[in-house]
Subunit: 217 residues, 3 copies
């Protein structure tokens, strides 16, 4: 029931907080900076979702447990990961993938529960999934994952669409949640592992670089 939904939400906050804290380790942030970056990453997507839907009070304002979880995650990350450079980059990608899949589906579920129309629910879900990581990457001046080659937005949208479809055909909420999250996660992890990507709408790297430079002048 909604209990599973709640625990999955907590788990999503933890993995995104972890990804924010790991990213913080690439810079010389002091512990409080790590906490702030972890928080913004972890609650960014859900906050934007709640604010756009007008679902007040925002989830972490209503229930500070989320904040304590982020604080604990950030502290544990600092204590355990003494040398961020030794953590393979893939670890951050995997934490981010879990957050992406969880938040995309949970965002969709929340939007539907507030009786948003289906296309709106899919957009809200995708946005919830990608926004936290986007804010993290923009703050760190790293190119957001959504702009890189591997399947990213696609995985979030798959999760959203799956959940909308399963919910429409009246599967139980728990079943729908688990199937949709698994689908999105499997797609994203496979994309990371085999570096798969969909045929892209692109210009050659060289040309893009040139365009970029001209653009910046």
């Amino acid at each position: 029931m909604t209990e599973l939904l709640y625990y999955l939400d907590l788990f999503g906050v933890v993995v995104f907080a972890l990804s924010g804290a790991l990213m913080a380790g690439r810079y010389k942030l002091d512990p409080f900076g790590v906490v702030v970056l972890a928080s913004v990453t972890a609650v960014g997507g859900g906050t934007i979702r709640d604010v756009i839907l007008g679902a007040y009070p925002v989830f972490w304002v209503a229930n500070p447990v989320y904040l304590w979880l982020i604080l604990i995650t950030a502290i544990l990350t600092i204590l355990i990961v003494r040398r961020p450079k030794r953590i393979p980059k893939r670890f951050l990608l995997i934490a981010d993938a879990f957050g992406l899949a969880l938040f995309a589906v949970l965002g969709t579920a929340k939007a539907l529960s507030l009786s948003a129309p289906m296309p709106v629910a899919i957009v809200m879900g995708t946005l919830t999934g990608v926004a936290g990581g986007m804010i993290r990457d923009v703050l760190c001046n790293v190119i957001p994952m959504i702009l890189r080659q591997e399947i990213y937005a696609t995985a979030a949208m798959l999760g959203s669409c799956l959940y909308v479809a399963l919910d429409y055909f009246a599967f139980g909420q728990n079943t729908s949640l688990i199937l949709a999250i698994s689908g999105a996660l499997a797609l994203r992890l496979a994309a990371i592992y085999w570096q798969v990507s969909l045929p892209a709408f692109h210009i050659s790297e060289k040309e893009a670089d040139k365009g970029e430079k001209k653009n910046k002048q």
Copy 2:
């Protein structure tokens, strides 16, 4: 009447979605990534406007037609523009100019209709006009247009101020909309075409670069 306002709003969403999709073509985004970038660009400004004004439900949550339009625009862009590198950069600038002028004036009109005071309406309009493009540029790590030399924020503000003035002197809404949008658009297009700019508050390029580098250390 409000019918014109609605169609202009749809048109603004289409041109900003187009500018987002074209920008996406500079990176190797898969089709879903293109849709996400187009959406964020197209509804970003209006969403911020509605959220700040507390005008719930947010326009695209209330009316999913906007989302379908963005989806269609993104798909058509991908299908028609097979080689983004062949599209002159100016094309993106012009789409952006239309979006800027439309949203600046429509944002002002919406704020006034919610009985915001005049200076607030001008700020909301300018913000609505520039925010979508800002988010697009920040996500793509391109310097936001507002920070470049040509008249940009100025055009948005001109549109806002014109609309406030015309509305104050009780011109019909349709006349006010068309005059204000035309004014802002003409100014921005002229600035693009002749590369006009106002006298700037600046330091020489070389010095700025130095400052920047020091800053980043």
Copy 3:
């Protein structure tokens, strides 16, 4: 009473507007661009705070005095500071420090007055303090101050926590405000002056650069 709170808020808006206008001087922005960047910096943090707390109408929508103050600050900055390159970088840092300390404490006070739980109030305060400067830096493609070495988020959190503690032990509001703001400001200014920093969670600069480059490919 709330009068002091109001004047401090106005002062915070002025110093953040100043920091935004000074940052604008590093680019070739025309006067309207300067006004937009100053506005976003000055009201960004408080707007996010009010929107997340659902405290409608947002402060500057309710009271346009804030906007006039920003306009005047931006114009004065342009008129007085004829050559931004001659202004030492430290001046921008100090304006930012005042804004940080003021908004962190005032954000906390506003959250508490809306009966947010303590941890939420601390997060809202920290967010209010750091968000305006973050938006300014992200728009200008400068690495956000929070990601640099000196005590930054720490100072904001200290201010928030101090205010929560003083308020809890029923000090008068004026006393609490002044003590908390002074504490945060003193810590941040000391960090700027002596370039103090807490022990960081980091990788060596060289390795970080490498990681960054790989990341961007």
